[in-house]
């Protein structure tokens, strides 16, 4: 299917559509209008029509969208109809949380290796996945056709490890380290910077509270 270039903003919204469509499928809903979807997702119906139009318009006037078809098509666009081999570098709490999240596997992301520098972790398993030493990294990537690596290590080590991943052929890095990675053009990076997320929450919280009390400088006294 020929597709036009999809804007970054639309891509950012697609996984959310996918999640809602998944819920609708679970509820046994076969068809949904942009109006009903709009109410559920709390975005305007025109936004929904505009977004879904990017894929050739799955909606039929008066009939609404076929939920299963739309779910599958968006899944294909997101690459969820394929199996992705994923490794996790950094097997602390965060790495283990990702390894334990069974839902990823349902979506085609199969964690088949974990790595760490901690000798006490190496050799143990998480949900059946063995934690390996970093010296095994390159061989493992080559032998297992690894495409995606989650980086759950401190920022000081992240750039050097990212370089090793790229040299070994990894094309997608899911970066949880609090640093921006520099990678070649054919490698993609998706950042999850938790501290930035917490700062945004803090901003929203403070500005809402200050707004209510009319900002006068400090506000602890209010």
């Amino acid at each position: 299917m020929e597709r036009k270039e999809i804007s970054k903003a639309v891509i950012t919204r697609l996984p959310r559509y996918y999640r809602y469509l998944d819920e609708l499928l679970e509820e046994g809903v076969e068809r949904i209008s942009s109006g009903e979807l709009s109410k559920r997702m709390k975005v305007t119906a025109s936004q929904i029509r505009q977004d879904l139009n990017n894929f050739g318009g799955f909606g039929q006037q008066g009939y609404g969208y076929n939920v299963e078809y739309l779910y599958e098509e968006i899944g294909k666009i997101l690459g969820l109809d394929r199996r992705h081999s994923l490794i996790i570098i950094g097997s602390g709490n965060l790495g283990q949380a990702i390894a334990n999240y069974g839902n990823f596997e349902r979506r085609g992301f199969v964690v088949n290796g974990m790595f760490d520098v901690d000798r006490e972790l190496i050799g143990s398993t998480v949900r059946g996945i063995r934690i390996r030493g970093m010296e095994e990294l390159e061989d493992f990537i080559r032998d297992n056709d690894v495409q995606i690596a989650a980086l759950t290590i401190p920022k000081t080590q992240a750039p050097a490890v990212a370089d090793r991943l790229v040299a070994a052929g990894v094309k997608a890095i899911w970066n949880f380290a609090h640093i921006d990675l520099t990678v070649p053009d054919d490698v993609v990076v998706e950042n999850v910077h938790l501290s930035e997320s917490l700062m945004r929450l803090s901003y929203l919280f403070c500005s809402k509270r200050d707004g209510k009390h009319k900002r006068t400088g400090g506000m602890e006294e209010s």
Copy 2:
């Protein structure tokens, strides 16, 4: 200080400025021009000037920005000059990862309580923080002036727990559950939906690979 309404896009970028300014301070850099900052952050200098103009323009023509001043001002805007009391609901791997992340504390986010329903976890501690049963939730929130709650529990339980948090007076929810929460107007929510982030990575990865090989339907054979 009077401030104009700041757009959501700018707010989203502020924590990243803050992180870079923090690094510059660590390196002992006192002043930086929008051009130099642009090179580091890989955004245009005009974007930087536009963004930072929102706060009354900290830059002086020819002198550049005073790093420490800018760092402190953005910190104030983000509410990082105050102490926030934070609790974590869900003390599994993800909850423990957040509790163990010492950097949050440095930014004023002090985790002083963790909760879970798992009797095997209750009573144990993470970095000195005791894990409590959910029956203690409301009293703890009231007694400790808790402002922010991180929700690291399955999506099925998230809405009911969010209702309890709101009823007990929590005004900010850091939501890791894969569901959109419905909260009153005076409560703010920041979502961290890891599976959506992974889907975005998958999309970027697949579209880059397909682009190179010219999409013809399937691509596993290429």
